[in-house]
C-alpha cells in the first residue's frame, strides 16, 4: 500500500482551515448513531473521549489503571508550549512551527507541525476555562517560562505539576461526560486485540483486570491514545504500567509502525542507584533555566566534594559547547554531551554515571526563596530519592529514556494505515520528528484530542454513511480475536519455567540500552538483532507466570506486555540499523561530524520509515513516506 499522508494542498498557513472546510460533517442528530472506542485516558485519550462525547458520539473509554485520572501524562512536570506571545518576546505560530521542525531535526511533517502550532493557542484557552490553575503574575495574567530548544518564553506551567493539572482538566471534562451518560468508562481494563472486519477497525477485545473476563467491544472507529514504548528499555521515566501492547497488536493487524528508532533520552534524570531500580525519575528540564550543568575538568577531581572544586576547574560543558543556548540546548544534544563527559571518565557519583546540575549561582542571584518557589517540589522529590539536599549540594543527573517519537503511522487526519483506526498523542509518530522539544508532548496530546481528531473522525464516519452496517461483537472476527487472547494467556500461564518476567524484561532492556540507546552502531545493532530472538525464544520456554487467568493477576498482565516488548525490541533495532544517518534521538556513531554532532543524510533518509507486519517468521516490509519541505530550508541543526 502506498503511504498517502493526505496533506492538504495550499499555503501552509491555510492548510488546516481549508481542510476543516473540506472535511465532511455528520449532522448532530446522526452523531449518536456512531460508536467510538477510545483506548487510553491520558491527555490525548481523555480529551478525545470527552470532546467526542460532547459532540454527541457514543463513546466507550478504556484504561488499565484504576481510574482515568492516573494515566502517565500526569507525571509531566515542566509545562506546555503555546504560541500566545504574551511576553511580547517575538513568538508566533510560525516561530513555534519552525522551532519544532528544527528541534525534530527535519524529520517531521511540516503540515502537521504547523497545525500543532496553530491550535496550541486554543489549548491554553480551553484549559484556563476548565479551571487549570496555571501560574500567574501578580497582575492576574498568565506567566510563562522558557524551555529547551527555544529562545522565547512560551511555556505555560502549573508549578512542577503541569501534566497533572492538564490531565485533571481533561479527566474532569471526561468525568462530566461519564456522569451525563455519554461515555461508558472501563477502568482496570486492558485492550489485548484489535478487531478488523473487511479492512476496517471495528472493535477491540479486552481483559477485565479484576475478574480476568475476556470480552469484545464493537465500534465504528477505534482510537488509540495508549502512550509510548519507552519501557522497552526496562528502565525509563515512564510509569511501570506503560507498554506498547495496544499499538503493537494493532501493528500485527495491519497498522504500520513508524520511526521506532526515534527514542528520546532526557538529560536530567536521577542516576540509577542499583540493580533493584524499577524506574527512573525525571527532574524537569525547567531546572535547566536556573541550574548549570558541569563536570570536573580533571578526572582526579571526580571523587571530591563539589564545593571544593574551584570554578576554574569546572567544565560547564553545555555553556562551553553551545554558547547561545547554553544549559537550554535541546534534549538529545544535552544528553549526548553528558554521556561524552562520563565516557571521558569525568562523570560524578556512583559508577561515574552522573553530571552536576548546580543551583549555587541561581541561589546567589535570586535568593533561596525564589528558587524554592520555582522548583520546591522537584528539590523535595530529589531529596526523597537520593537523601541529598540540592539547595546545599548540586544535584547529580544522568540521561534516561523518557519519550518515544516513533509510533503508529498516521496520516494528516490521525488515521493509521488501517481505516477506522485512529492514533493520538505519544502513541502516534506524527509531530516531533526525530526529537521532541520540551513542553511539546502535552501540547501534542491535547491538540490531537481536543482540536484535531474530533474534526477528522467525522469525515471518516460521513464516508461510512448513516446507514452503514453496524459491527456487532458476535461477528466471527471477534470470536477469533477472543480465542487468540485466551490462548496467548493460557500459553503464558502454562510454561511454568524458572525465570521471572522481570528478569527477562531487565535483560531485554539492558541489551537495548547498550546497543540501541543513546548511541548506536551497525555492529551493536546486528548483535542485538541476533540476541533478541534468542531471548524471546527463552522467554517462551522458561518464563514463570504464576496464578490463573480468572483473577486479578498482575504477573500475567506484565507477562503479556513483556512478550510484546520482546517482539517490538527487534523492530526498534531493525529500524535503527536501516537508518544510516544520525538525526535527533537516533545517533549512529558511524555518522557524525568531526566535532561529534549528528550527521543527517537528507539525500537518502528524508522520509518517514513505516513498517508493515508480514507474519511471525517474516521480516517486516518498509514503506517510505517522503518528507517534503516547502516552508523551512533543511539545514544542519545548530545550537551553538
Amino acid at each position: 500500500m502506498a503511504l498517502d499522508s493526505k496533506i492538504p494542498s495550499g499555503p501552509i498557513a491555510q492548510k488546516w482551515d481549508k481542510h476543516k472546510f473540506d472535511l465532511k460533517l455528520v449532522n448532530p442528530a446522526n452523531k449518536r448513531k456512531f460508536d467510538v472506542i477510545v483506548v487510553g485516558s491520558g491527555l490525548a485519550g481523555a480529551s478525545a473521549a470527552a470532546t467526542l462525547a460532547e459532540l454527541g458520539y457514543k463513546v466507550k473509554c478504556f484504561c488499565f489503571q484504576d481510574s482515568p485520572r492516573r494515566a502517565h501524562s500526569i507525571a509531566a512536570q515542566g509545562g506546555i508550549n503555546a504560541a500566545k506571545n504574551y511576553p511580547n518576546d517575538g513568538d508566533s505560530v510560525y516561530r513555534l512551527f519552525y522551532d519544532t521542525i528544527k528541534g525534530g531535526d527535519f524529520r517531521a511533517r511540516e503540515a502537521n507541525v504547523y497545525r500543532l502550532a496553530q491550535v496550541s493557542v486554543n489549548i491554553i484557552d480551553q484549559c484556563v476555562a476548565q479551571g487549570v490553575p496555571f501560574a500567574r503574575e501578580y497582575g492576574g495574567l498568565l506567566d510563562n517560562r522558557s524551555f529547551g530548544g527555544a529562545q522565547v518564553s512560551r511555556t505555560f506551567y502549573a508549578r512542577g505539576q503541569t501534566g497533572q493539572q492538564l490531565l485533571l482538566g481533561a479527566y474532569q471534562a471526561l468525568s462530566r461526560q461519564i456522569g451525563l451518560g455519554n461515555v461508558q468508562m472501563y477502568p482496570r481494563t486492558e485492550m489485548l486485540e484489535l478487531v478488523v472486519i473487511d479492512g476496517h477497525a471495528k472493535g477491540i477485545v479486552v481483559r477485565d483486570l479484576v475478574t480476568g473476563e475476556i470480552s469484545s467491544h464493537a465500534g465504528d472507529a477505534v482510537v488509540l491514545g495508549t502512550g509510548g514504548y519507552g519501557n522497552v528499555f526496562y528502565l525509563s521515566t515512564n510509569a511501570k504500567g506503560c507498554n506498547v501492547t495496544a499499538t503493537w497488536r494493532a501493528y500485527k493487524k495491519g497498522a504500520y509502525f513508524a520511526n521506532p528508532c526515534y527514542t528520546q533520552i532526557h538529560p536530567t534524570c536521577i542516576p540509577v542507584s542499583g540493580e533493584h531500580q524499577s524506574k527512573l525519575t525525571l527532574m524537569s528540564e525547567s531546572l535547566r533555566n536556573d541550574g548549570r550543568v558541569w563536570v570536573p575538568k580533571k578526572k582526579e577531581d571526580c571523587g571530591k566534594a563539589p564545593s571544593s572544586i574551584p570554578d576554574a576547574d569546572r567544565d560547564y560543558f553545555l555553556e562551553r559547547k553551545y554558547p547561545s543556548f547554553g544549559n537550554l540546548a535541546p534534549r538529545d544534544i544535552s544528553s549526548r554531551a553528558a554521556k561524552e563527559a562520563c565516557d571521558d571518565g569525568r562523570g560524578v557519583g556512583p559508577g561515574g554515571l552522573g553530571v552536576y546540575l548546580d543551583f549555587a549561582d541561581a541561589i546567589k542571584r535570586l535568593g533561596e526563596d525564589k528558587v524554592r518557589e520555582r522548583y520546591s517540589n522537584l528539590f523535595d522529590m530529589y531529596e526523597k530519592i537520593t537523601g541529598e539536599n540540592a539547595y546545599r549540594v548540586p544535584m547529580r543527573i544522568y540521561p534516561a529514556v523518557h519519550y518515544t517519537m516513533g509510533g503508529s503511522w498516521v496520516d494528516y487526519n490521525l488515521m493509521s494505515s488501517l481505516p477506522g483506526l485512529f492514533v493520538v498523542g505519544e502513541a502516534n509518530f506524527s509531530d516531533h520528528g526525530a526529537n521532541r522539544l520540551g513542553a511539546s508532548a502535552l501540547m501534542q496530546g491535547l491538540a490531537d484530542g481536543y482540536f484535531v481528531l474530533p474534526y477528522t473522525i467525522g469525515n471518516y464516519f460521513a464516508g461510512l454513511g448513516v446507514k452503514h452496517e453496524k459491527p456487532t461483537s458476535s461477528h466471527p472476527e471477534f470470536k477469533k480475536a477472543e480465542e487468540a487472547v485466551r490462548s496467548l494467556n493460557n500459553k503464558l500461564l502454562s510454561i511454568k519455567g524458572k525465570r521471572t518476567v522481570t528478569s527477562f524484561h531487565r535483560e531485554l532492556g539492558k541489551l537495548l540500552w547498550e546497543k540501541c540507546g543513546m548511541a548506536r552502531n551497525e555492529a551493536g545493532l546486528k548483535e542485538a538483532l541476533q540476541r533478541i530472538p534468542a531471548l524471546r525464544e527463552e522467554f517462551w520456554k522458561n518464563v514463570n507466570v504464576t496464578g490463573e487467568n480468572g483473577e486479578l493477576n498482575q504477573n500475567l498482565e506484565y507477562a503479556g506486555r513483556v512478550a510484546d516488548f520482546m517482539e517490538f525490541g527487534e523492530l526498534l533495532c531493525r529500524d535503527a540499523l536501516h537508518r544510516n544517518e544520525s538525526c535527533g534521538g537516533h545517533f549512529r556513531t558511524e555518522f557524525q561530524h568531526p566535532d561529534g554532532e549528528a550527521k543527517r543524510d537528507d539525500e537518502n533518509f528524508s522520509y518517514v520509515g513505516a513498517w508493515e507486519y508480514q507474519g511471525p517468521d517474516k521480516p517486516p516490509v518498509l514503506h517510505k513516506e517522503p518528507l517534503v519541505y516547502e516552508e523551512v530550508h533543511m539545514s544542519t541543526r545548530s545550537y551553538k
Partner: protein
C-alpha cells in the same frame, strides 16, 4: 538490612484475609518501599507462589495509584510522601513492618493490598468539573485571576486522589478529597457559576458512597502525600452551607 514483613493477603473480596510473614533480605537503603516489595515478590515467584498484589504506576508520587498502610499509617508516615517515594533508608535493620490495604467501606478490597477507589471517580462525575465544552472559550488572559487565589486553587488541585485521607480517618471520611476539588474549582472565577450545585452534588455523592463524617481530627492532613490543608474542609463547609441556605 534484613526486615520481617507482615503482609495482608486476601484472594478476593469474598474470601477471608490473613497476615503472612515474609523475610526481606539484603534490603538496600536506596531502594524505594515498592522496589523492596518487588524484590520480595521476585523471591515469591521463584518459589512458585503467588506474588503480593499491590497497586503502583508512576512511582514518582503523582499518579496516586499506590497505597499501603505501613505500620498503621497510610503511605508510611513521612510528611508529604507517597509510598512509592518512601525509601528504605528510613527503616532499620531487623525491623518488622506490617503492610495493609486501605480499609474503608467505600473502598472495597479486590485482592491483597489492592482496593477499588472508583467511588472517588463517581464523586468527581457528580460535579467535580467546570461545565465547558471544547472550543469557543475566551482568551486565556481574558479573566485575570489574582495570584493568591490562583496559588490557593493550585494548593487544592495538587490532590492526587490516592485515598490516604480516607484510610487514615477513623470514620473513613472523604472530606479532604472532596474539599480539595470543591475548593480548587470554587476558588477560581471560572468555577463560580456552578459553585453551589458543585458543593451540594459532590457532598451528596460522597454520602451516597458510604464515606463517614468528618470530626476534624486532622489525621487526613497528616498523611496526605500532597499536604492538602484541612482549611479546605472549612471552605467546603462554608460553600455547602451557603448553597443549602440558598435552597439550591
Amino acid at each position: 538490612m534484613n526486615l520481617t514483613l507482615k503482609v495482608w493477603r486476601q484472594s478476593n473480596a469474598n474470601s477471608t484475609g490473613r497476615f503472612e510473614t515474609y523475610e526481606a533480605k539484603d534490603v538496600l537503603p536506596d531502594m524505594s518501599f515498592l522496589e523492596m516489595l518487588d524484590v520480595v515478590n521476585e523471591g515469591i515467584i521463584e518459589r512458585g507462589q503467588e506474588p503480593i498484589a499491590f497497586d503502583s504506576d508512576c512511582r514518582e508520587g503523582i499518579c496516586g495509584m499506590c497505597s499501603l498502610v505501613i505500620n498503621g499509617i497510610p503511605h508510611g508516615g513521612h510528611r508529604g510522601t507517597a509510598t512509592c517515594q518512601l525509601h528504605m533508608r528510613h527503616f532499620e535493620d531487623g525491623q518488622t513492618i506490617t503492610i495493609e490495604p486501605w480499609r474503608a467501606k467505600a473502598f472495597p478490597l479486590l485482592k491483597d493490598l489492592v482496593v477499588n477507589r472508583s467511588s472517588f471517580d463517581r464523586i468527581i462525575q457528580s460535579g467535580g468539573f467546570i461545565s465547558v465544552n471544547t472550543g469557543g472559550t475566551p482568551d486565556g488572559n481574558a479573566i485575570p485571576v489574582p495570584k493568591t487565589d490562583s496559588d490557593l486553587a493550585m494548593d487544592a488541585a495538587a490532590c492526587i486522589g490516592c485515598g490516604a485521607c480516607v484510610a487514615a480517618c477513623k470514620n473513613a471520611s472523604a472530606m479532604l478529597f472532596v474539599a480539595a476539588k470543591v475548593s480548587h474549582l470554587n476558588l477560581l472565577p471560572q468555577g463560580k457559576a456552578e459553585k453551589d450545585r458543585r458543593a451540594l452534588n459532590m457532598v451528596h455523592q460522597m454520602d451516597a458512597e458510604g464515606f463517614g463524617n468528618c470530626t476534624v481530627t486532622g489525621s487526613c492532613e497528616a498523611v496526605c502525600p500532597k499536604e492538602i490543608s484541612l482549611s479546605f474542609i472549612a471552605k467546603m463547609n462554608r460553600d455547602y452551607g451557603t448553597a443549602t441556605l440558598k435552597g439550591k
